[in-house]
C-alpha cells in the first residue's frame, strides 16, 4: 500500500477492482465504509461477480475476468481525450513530458525488440532520449510526437468505451460512470484510492494491471496524497514483512538484490544498481544502495566480513536463474530437488495445477513441514479417495511433521499491508511439544554446524561464515533479532567535524546513518529506526492523531522512517503548497517540509530546487512510460489470458502475454475455448483464510463446503438446480461442489459471443473440518505473470455439468 488503512477514510472516491476488500480484508474495509459515512465518499466496484464489496457500493460494473487492462486502458483513454487529468501534477511529477528515443514503436500488439523464439524483448529502444548534459530530454509543451503524452494518446486511442464493452463485456454506460467518478478526483481537492489484491496480480499480465491503475492515479494526481494511492491489499498477516525480509528467490532484505552469476564481485553487483540522477537536482535514493548492502553483509557475516574479503560477498550464493514457485515445482517435477522445507505453507493447495504438484512432491527424498496444524501437503502421500487419489506405497518421500507454536505462543513483530510494524506479545504456553520456528531453525543450524565442524564437507566455509551471535544460540529471542534487523554502529560514528554522532555498539536511529565501509551493520535498512536508541518502536501504542488526518504516527513503526503515506511530497504542489486545504498533508513551511506525516523527502530541500517527489527514481518523477523496467512493455497492452474464450479482439496474432514464461508440458495442457467455453475464476471467502481455517471449527461452521457460483442463465442452460452437485473441469483436472445459483453473476457479451463465468472459491481441501473437496488449483494453469511469475489463477477455461442426484 502506498497509503495506509486508516487513510482510506480521507478518500472521496474508492475504487475496488482486482480485489474484494470487504471479503478479504473486512476490518480494513471499515475505512471505506467510514469514508462513505463520514465524508460522503462514493464506492465503485468492478468485478466479474457482484461481491460483498459491491453489496455496499454506489456503483457496480461487471467485467470479464482477465480483461482488466482493456478496461483500465479505456479509463486512461477517457481521461486523456476528455482532458480529465490534473495537469500541474502530471507535468511536474510524472515523465509525461519526457521524450522517448527514436526507434521505439508498437505494432500489432508488440513493442519493438521482440524475439519470438526466446519470448523476450530487447528493451534497449524503450529508453529516453538523453541530452548532451547527460540528462533525459523533455518537452514541457507536450507537443513533441515522441513525448510520453503523445505516445500515450496514440497508444490508448483504440480503447474507446465501445472497445471496452466488446473486450471486457462491461456495458458502456456502466463503464462511463466509472470513468466519470474517477475523473471527478482530478481536481486537487478530491482524491480517489484504488484498492486491489490478487484479482490483479494473478494474471499473466498482472504487473501491467497494476501499472495501468497506478497510471490512472498519476494522471488524476492521486499518488502521495491523503485518500489516494494505489493500495495492494496483501494476503498473509506478515507477507509484507516476509517480502521485505526477502525470502524470495532473488531477494535480499530491504529490496536489495541477490548476487547473480554475472556479478562475480561485490563492486560489479553494486555498480549496476547505484543509479545516477537522470535530471538535475534529483535525489535518486538508490545511490545509497552500497551502504545498505555492506551493512547487510556485516550483519550476515559479522566480524568475518571485512573490506578485504568484499564483506563476505563471495560466500553468498549466486543466482543462475530465478526460482519462483512455478519454477520450483517444475524443477521438483523433473526430479531434481531432494528436499523441501515447508514453513507454514501448503503448496499442494496453493500452487497451480495440483496433479503436477503431487507428482513433484512424490519425487522428493524428504519433505519437512513446520506448521502449527496439519496441512494437506504434509499428507500428500495419503489416499483421500477422489480428493487425493494416490498410492502411499509408491511414494518414497520421507515426511516430517514438526509441531510449531501458534501466533499466541510466541512474541515478535508483523508488518501489515500498510508497512506498519507491530509487536505482539506472547499470550500462552506452547501447545504440546510445539516449538517456535526460530528454535527449530536454530536447532537445525547448530546441528549442521556441528556436523561441518566435525566432518567438514562441501561448502563448509560459506556456511560456517554465517554469524550466529545470540545470547542463547539455541533460542534467539525475537527482541535481539529485531535489533539485528535495525542495525547498530560498530565503531564510533563521527560527523565531518569529528564529533561522535553514534557511539560504537549503539543502535542506529535511521538508515541515513548507514555507511559502506563496514562501520555499521543492519539486516534490513528500510526497517532501521524500528529498534533505535529509543528501544522497540514496534511496541508503541500511542493512538493519538494530532493532525486529525487519521495518521496515527505514534502507533508502531512504519517503514521507511515511520512514513505513513509514500511519496507524500506530492501532496503539495511544485511550490510546496498543499493542492487544497482539504488535502493538506505534507508541505513547505518556508523553512522545511512538515505536516501530518514524516515527509518522504529530504526535509530541508526547498521547492525552488525542483527536486522531484519520487526520490527513489533517478528522474525524480514517476513513470507513466516504464522504460525497460517491465519485461512486457513500457506501456500496458491488453493481452488475453493464456486460456481465453476469445481470440484477442485487438491483437489477434498474440496469444497471451508474449513474454510470459511457459514450461514445456504446461503449454500442452492449456485448454481451448472450443472444449472449455466457460471462464473460471478463483477467489477466497470471507469466512476462511486460504487453506488454513478449514481446520478451524467455527469457520467451518460459517462456510462448510466447497461450492461453485454460477449465473441463473448458465444454470438454466446446463439444467443445474441450486444446491445440486456439479462437476467443473479444465484440461488439467476437475473439482466437484455444490451449485450456488445467483443473480450476482451474469453472462457477458464478448466480441459478439455470450461468455459465462463461474466462480470457484479456493478455501477447501481434504484436511480439516470442512467437507472434503479437491482444491480449485486442480484446475488452474501453471503460467505466471511475465514480470512477477504470479500464477494465472484468476482467468482460465473450464466446463461445467450437473451431477445427477438429490439436491443439497
Amino acid at each position: 500500500m502506498t497509503n495506509n488503512w486508516t487513510d482510506i477514510k480521507n478518500a472521496d472516491v474508492v475504487w475496488i477492482m482486482g480485489g474484494n476488500a470487504a471479503e478479504a480484508h473486512p476490518c480494513g474495509f471499515k475505512w471505506v465504509t467510514e469514508a462513505k459515512a463520514e465524508r460522503g465518499a462514493k464506492l465503485m466496484v468492478v468485478d466479474p461477480r457482484f461481491t460483498r464489496s459491491a453489496a455496499v457500493s454506489d456503483h457496480y460494473a461487471p467485467i470479464r475476468a482477465g480483461s482488466d487492462i482493456a478496461f483500465l486502458s479505456g479509463v486512461i483513454n477517457y481521461l486523456l481525450t476528455n482532458d480529465k487529468i490534473q495537469r500541474e501534477y502530471v507535468k511536474n511529477y510524472t515523465n509525461i513530458s519526457y521524450i522517448v528515443k527514436e526507434g521505439f514503436g508498437f505494432n500489432e500488439g508488440l513493442f519493438t525488440g521482440y524475439d519470438e523464439s526466446k519470448r523476450t524483448y530487447d528493451r534497449s529502444s524503450w529508453e529516453y532520449e538523453i541530452g548532451p548534459d547527460g540528462f533525459a530530454v523533455r518537452d514541457e509543451t507536450l507537443a513533441h510526437p515522441r513525448c510520453v503524452y503523445q505516445l500515450m494518446k496514440k497508444h490508448y486511442a483504440q480503447y474507446t468505451p465501445e472497445t471496452v464493452e466488446r473486450v471486457s463485456g462491461t456495458p458502456k454506460d456502466k463503464f462511463l460512470k466509472v470513468c466519470e467518478m474517477a475523473a471527478s478526483t482530478a481536481t486537487g481537492d478530491r482524491s480517489m484510492t484504488i484498492m486491489y489484491a490478487l484479482g490483479w496480480t494473478q494474471h499473466s499480465h498482472g504487473a501491467q494491471n497494476i501499472r495501468s491503475a497506478a497510471m490512472i492515479q498519476l494522471l488524476l494526481g492521486n499518488i502521495g496524497v491523503p485518500g489516494g494511492g494505489i493500495n495492494a491489499l496483501r494476503g498473509h498477516a506478515n507477507v509484507q514483512g516476509i517480502t521485505d525480509i526477502g525470502t524470495l528467490t532473488a531477494s535480499l532484505p530491504g529490496y536489495l538484490a541477490m548476487p547473480t552469476d554475472s556479478e562475480p564481485t561485490l563492486e560489479s553487483h553494486l555498480g549496476k544498481r547505484t543509479f545516477k540522477p537522470l535530471q538535475a537536482n534529483q535525489t535518486s535514493y538508490w545511490q545509497n544502495y552500497r551502504k545498505f548492502y555492506v551493512s547487510f553483509l556485516k550483519s550476515l557475516y559479522g566480524e568475518k566480513a571485512t573490506k578485504e574479503n568484499e564483506f563476505g560477498y563471495q560466500w553468498m550464493p549466486k543466482l543462475d536463474v530465478a526460482y519462483d514457485v512455478l519454477r520450483m515445482f517444475e524443477v521438483m517435477h523433473q526430479g531434481k530437488t531432494t528436499g523441501l522445507l515447508c514453513q507454514g505453507f501448503n503448496p499442494l493447495m496453493s500452487v497451480a495445477y495440483k496433479a503436477k504438484t503431487v507428482a513433484a512432491l512424490s519425487k522428493l527424498k524428504f519433505l519437512v513441514s513446520m506448521d502449527p496444524i496439519e496441512t494437506d501437503t504434509v499428507r500428500f502421500w495419503e489416499n483421500h479417495g477422489e480428493f487425493n487419489d494416490v498410492d502411499p506405497s509408491k511414494i518414497q518421500t520421507e515426511v516430517f511433521m514438526l509441531p510449531v507454536t501458534s501466533f499466541v505462543e510466541e512474541d515478535g513483530s508483523f508488518t501489515n499491508s500498510s508497512r506498519n510494524i507491530q509487536w505482539k506479545w506472547k499470550a500462552a504456553d506452547p501447545y504440546g511439544e510445539s516449538r517456535r520456528d526460530i528454535e527449530i531453525l536454530a536447532d537445525l543450524y547448530l546441528r549442521l554446524k556441528k556436523l561441518y565442524e566435525k566432518d567438514g564437507g562441501k561448502g563448509a566455509e560459506p556456511f560456517l561464515a554465517v554469524d550466529w551471535n545470540y545470547k542463547d544460540p539455541t533460542h534467539p529471542s525475537s527482541e535481539e533479532v529485531l535489533k539485528e534487523l535495525n542495525g547498530k554502529a560498530l565503531v564510533d560514528l563521527k560527523d565531518a567535524e569529528g564529533k561522535v554522532t553514534r557511539a560504537a555498539g549503539s543502535q542506529l536511529a535511521s538508515f541515513g546513518e548507514m555507511r559502506d565501509d563496514g562501520s555499521t551493520d543492519g539486516v534490513q535498512w528500510i526497517y532501521t529506526g524500528i529498534y533505535g536508541p529509543n528501544g522497540n518502536m514496534a511496541q508503541r501504542r500511542d493512538n493519538s492523531d494530532p493532525s486529525g488526518m487519521n495518521v496515527y504516527g505514534s502507533w508502531g513503526f512504519c517503514w521507511p522512517a515511520n512514513r505513513r503515506i509514500l511519496y507524500n511530497r506530492a501532496s503539495a504542489d511544485p511550490q510546496g503548497k498543499p493542492w487544497s486545504d482539504a488535502k493538506k498533508y505534507v508541505y513547505w513551511n518556508g523553512e522545511r517540509w512538515t505536516g501530518a506525516d514524516v515527509p518522504d523527502f529530504v526535509p530541508t530541500i526547498p521547492p525552488e530546487r525542483g527536486t522531484g517527489p519520487f526520490i527513489m527514481n533517478p528522474e525524480g518523477v514517476s513513470r507513466l512510460f516504464a522504460r525497460g523496467f517491465m519485461a512486457d512493455g513500457p506501456l500496458p497492452v491488453h493481452y488475453e489470458p493464456f486460456e481465453s474464450p476469445v481470440t484477442n479482439p485487438l491483437f489477434p496474432k498474440v496469444r497471451g502475454n508474449p513474454v510470459a514464461r511457459v514450461f514445456k508440458g504446461d503449454m500442452e495442457v492449456f485448454g481451448s475455448a472450443k472444449d472449455f467455453p466457460i471462464v473460471g475464476t478463483t477467489y477466497r471467502l470471507v469466512e476462511h483464510f486460504h487453506y488454513w481455517t478449514k481446520s478451524v471449527h467455527m469457520n467451518a461452521v460459517a462456510q462448510p463446503e466447497f461450492f461453485v457460483e454460477i449465473s441463473e442463465q448458465l444454470a438454466k442452460e446446463k439444467g443445474i438446480r441450486p444446491g445440486q452437485m456439479v462437476r467443473v473441469w479444465s484440461n488439467r483436472g476437475q473439482v466437484k461442489g455444490k451449485a450456488v445459483v445467483t443473480k450476482r453473476l451474469v453472462p457477458l457479451k464478448i466480441d459478439g459471443k455470450t461468455v459465462h463465468q463461474v466462480g470457484l472459491p479456493l478455501n477447501f481441501g481434504f484436511i480439516g473440518e470442512t467437507k472434503k473437496a479437491s482444491p480449485v488449483n486442480s484446475l488452474t494453469p501453471a503460467v505466471g505473470d511475465a514480470n512477477a511469475q504470479t500464477p494465472e489463477f484468476k482467468a482460465f477455461l473450464v466446463d461445467i455439468e450437473p451431477i445427477p442426484g438429490p439436491v443439497a
Binding site: 470487504a22 465504509t33 453489496a55 457496480y60 461452521v701 450456488v740
Partner: protein, 312 residues
C-alpha cells in the same frame, strides 16, 4: 465512526444491573424496579453490512457455543437457520430494485430483537424463565426454563430455539454479561464495518438518523429506522435502505405484533378457562347442597328384586 467502547478489564467488576432491575418476569407478578436503567439498544445498519459473519462467529466464541459443521445447500447462509447454538445469523437476499434496475444484495443479521413488549415472555409459563431488565434486555434464564417451546409461539420474529440436547430455550442475550460490565455485545464489538453499533437507545436513534440522511443522499428515498411500534419498539433496531418494505429483507416482519392467537391464549382463554372450570365445580357443589344426593330408594331395590325374580 461511532466511538469504540474501551477494552474490557480483567478485574472483577460488579454487574451494573441484575435481579433488582427486572421489569418483567415470566409467569410472575413482580413490582418493577422504581428506578429504571437507561434503555440500551443495538443498531444494525443493513446498508453497511458486508455479510462477513464475524458477528456469528464472535457470538459462538463469546458464548462458548459450537455449532455442527453443516453443508452448503446452494446458499450463503450457514447454518441454514437459527439454532440453539446459533443465536444470530446473516440472511442474504438478492433484490432487483425495480426503480433503479440495480441488483442489491441485502444482508440482514437475524436474531433476537429484545422487544419492549416481548411475546416470548408473555407466552412463557415457567416463572422467571424469561426476564426483562429495565434497560430493555430480554434474557432467558436457563435454570428456570422448562423447554415447553411456548416462547417460540409467542415470538413475533421466530427467534427462540429449543435445544434437542438439554431441552432449554436459547436465543441472543444481548450479551447481558458483557453489558453488565459496560461492554457492548460480542457481535457489535467484532463487526468490521460498524454495521452493528451499541449504546443507549436514544443515541442509537440519533445515530440512525445520520445514517438515514446519508442513505437518502444516495437515492434511497425510503431509507428509515426499523423500531416496530407493534411490539412497543425493540432494543435491536435496523437501518433499512427500503424501510417501506421490511419483508424484502429475508422476510423481516412488516408490522410485527404478538400474534392475536397468542394474545387470546395468554389473555382471555387463561382467565375464562379457569373461570369455567371453577364455575363447573361450583355448580356441582351448589347443586349437591341444594338438591342433595340422588339416592336409590328401597322401592327401587324392591322393583329390581321383583324383576329379577320374575325372570327366574
Amino acid at each position: 465512526m461511532f466511538p469504540p467502547i474501551p477494552n474490557p478489564t480483567t478485574q472483577a467488576t460488579p454487574a451494573k444491573f441484575g435481579e433488582a432491575d427486572l421489569i418483567r418476569r415470566s409467569a410472575s407478578n413482580i413490582t418493577p424496579a422504581a428506578k429504571r436503567q437507561t434503555e440500551v439498544a443495538k443498531l444494525i445498519d443493513v446498508s453497511k453490512c458486508i455479510g462477513c459473519k464475524a458477528c456469528q462467529v464472535a457470538c459462538l466464541e463469546w458464548n462458548d457455543l459450537r455449532e455442527e459443521v453443516g453443508v452448503n445447500v446452494g446458499l450463503y447462509e450457514n447454518p441454514h437457520d437459527l439454532t440453539p447454538n446459533t443465536w444470530t445469523l446473516m440472511r442474504y437476499t438478492e433484490y432487483e430494485n425495480p426503480e433503479s434496475g440495480n441488483l442489491e444484495w441485502l444482508i440482514r443479521k437475524d436474531g433476537c430483537m429484545h422487544c419492549a413488549d416481548p411475546g416470548c415472555l408473555k407466552a412463557c409459563p415457567a416463572p422467571g424463565a424469561i426476564v426483562q431488565y429495565s434497560n430493555g434486555i430480554v434474557d432467558f434464564v436457563k435454570a428456570n426454563c422448562i423447554g415447553c417451546g411456548y416462547c417460540v409461539k409467542g415470538c413475533p420474529f421466530n427467534i427462540p430455539r429449543i435445544s434437542k440436547v438439554d431441552h432449554k430455550a436459547y436465543k441472543c442475550t444481548l450479551c447481558s454479561d458483557r453489558v453488565a460490565v459496560g461492554q457492548g455485545p460480542a457481535c457489535q464489538k467484532a463487526c468490521p464495518t460498524q454495521a452493528i453499533v451499541f449504546g443507549t437507545k436514544d443515541e442509537m436513534k440519533k445515530w440512525a438518523d445520520k445514517r438515514i440522511a446519508d442513505l437518502k443522499s444516495r437515492g434511497f428515498k425510503n431509507a428509515g429506522l426499523y423500531d416496530p411500534p407493534g411490539v412497543s419498539g425493540t432494543h435491536v433496531m435496523y437501518v433499512l435502505q427500503h424501510a417501506d418494505k421490511p419483508q424484502i429483507y429475508a422476510g423481516l416482519a412488516n408490522n410485527p405484533t404478538i400474534s392475536p392467537i397468542v394474545e387470546l391464549w395468554k389473555g382471555l382463554t387463561k382467565y375464562a378457562g379457569l373461570t369455567a372450570i371453577g364455575a363447573f365445580a361450583a355448580f356441582g357443589l351448589l347443586h349437591h347442597i341444594v338438591s342433595g344426593p340422588n339416592r336409590v330408594s328401597d322401592e327401587d331395590e324392591k322393583n329390581a328384586k321383583r324383576l329379577a325374580q320374575g325372570r327366574s
